[in-house]
Symmetry: C2
């Protein structure tokens, strides 16, 4: 075969990132990766000590950048800190989109589950309702933001009473959609 001086290593990382992002980490086997790359499973373990080492190498740059953002924010305080945190996090999440997708994959995997068969379509209609009357990009993006915001926040275990949580979620979501009703 003899690829030019081991582009193979890079190909493995590429394929792994794609597969992890579409099937999840646990849902992807070494065999799967090898098949996409077109090499043997043993080759993967020639370049990487383990499957987890592949994941580690894929996620490390994002982790380091996040640390850098953290350091950059250390000196700032007050409103500027909030704005810097927001723009920094947005930029980071966008630059490492595929990596973010790896972390969030199994959601999409499970929403395809029979019990939740209609969910994607329903969510799409929900988003449409939220975006009612809003221009193209803004409506789409903000509706998606609300879905993510509410889901993740409910999945987290914030030390906030349910009533307050509900009220803040609704108010926050309406602000996100730019539909404040004071």
């Amino acid at each position: 075969m003899a690829r030019p001086a081991s582009a193979l290593r890079g190909h493995i990382l590429d394929a792994a990132l794609d597969l992890f992002a579409t099937r999840g980490y646990k849902g992807t086997s070494l065999h799967d990766i090898a098949q996409v790359v077109g090499c043997s499973k043993a080759s993967l373990l020639y370049y990487f000590v383990s499957k987890e080492a592949i994941l580690t190498e894929l996620l490390t740059p994002a982790g380091e950048e996040l640390g850098a953002l953290d350091a950059r924010l250390a000196g700032v305080e007050g409103i500027p800190a909030a704005e810097a945190a927001v723009t920094g996090f947005v930029d980071l999440a966008m630059r490492f989109r595929r990596e973010v997708k790896v972390l969030f994959q199994d959601i999409l995997g499970l929403t395809g589950h029979p019990a939740l068969g209609a969910v994607p379509a329903v969510i799409a209609r929900l988003m449409a309702a939220m975006a009612e009357g809003s221009a193209g990009a803004k409506g789409l993006v903000t509706a998606s933001m609300v879905i993510g915001a509410v889901s993740v926040t409910c999945a987290s275990d914030l030390p906030v009473p349910d009533e307050d949580l509900r009220a803040e979620l609704i108010r926050g979501a309406l602000r996100t959609l730019d539909r404040e009703t004071p």
Copy 2:
């Protein structure tokens, strides 16, 4: 043993929901569930035809309620639709918190990964920066919402140019935090 007329079935569902929510669906084996319940693995498959059937039964109520919300929204349009969609979705996500957690579990599982070791702490500081100056509950909730909103939206593949996406994400996040700077 002889539990009172098979409370076992319910116990299995309880334990499975807990485990799925903390280790993820794929990260939980039938053996794990059986161990928590205190019965044999074969008992699980006496009451449920498969592991997936357990997941199905757990997620079905949430799926049905989501469908009901969808139906309820079908008649409404315009601003009221957006508000109804928001409150409906918030209430749903809160009522089925553990189920939502099941869908989102593997994120938290992976953020514990060595390559992302410091991530939870960094995210906590990011959220603190976002909440700067905001009162207790509101700051916590809105910061969590922004993290979720940005992550999920980036993980989705919205048909929106990167520049627009970035701009809307930042504007939307600042609105969520109630820190608009027009």
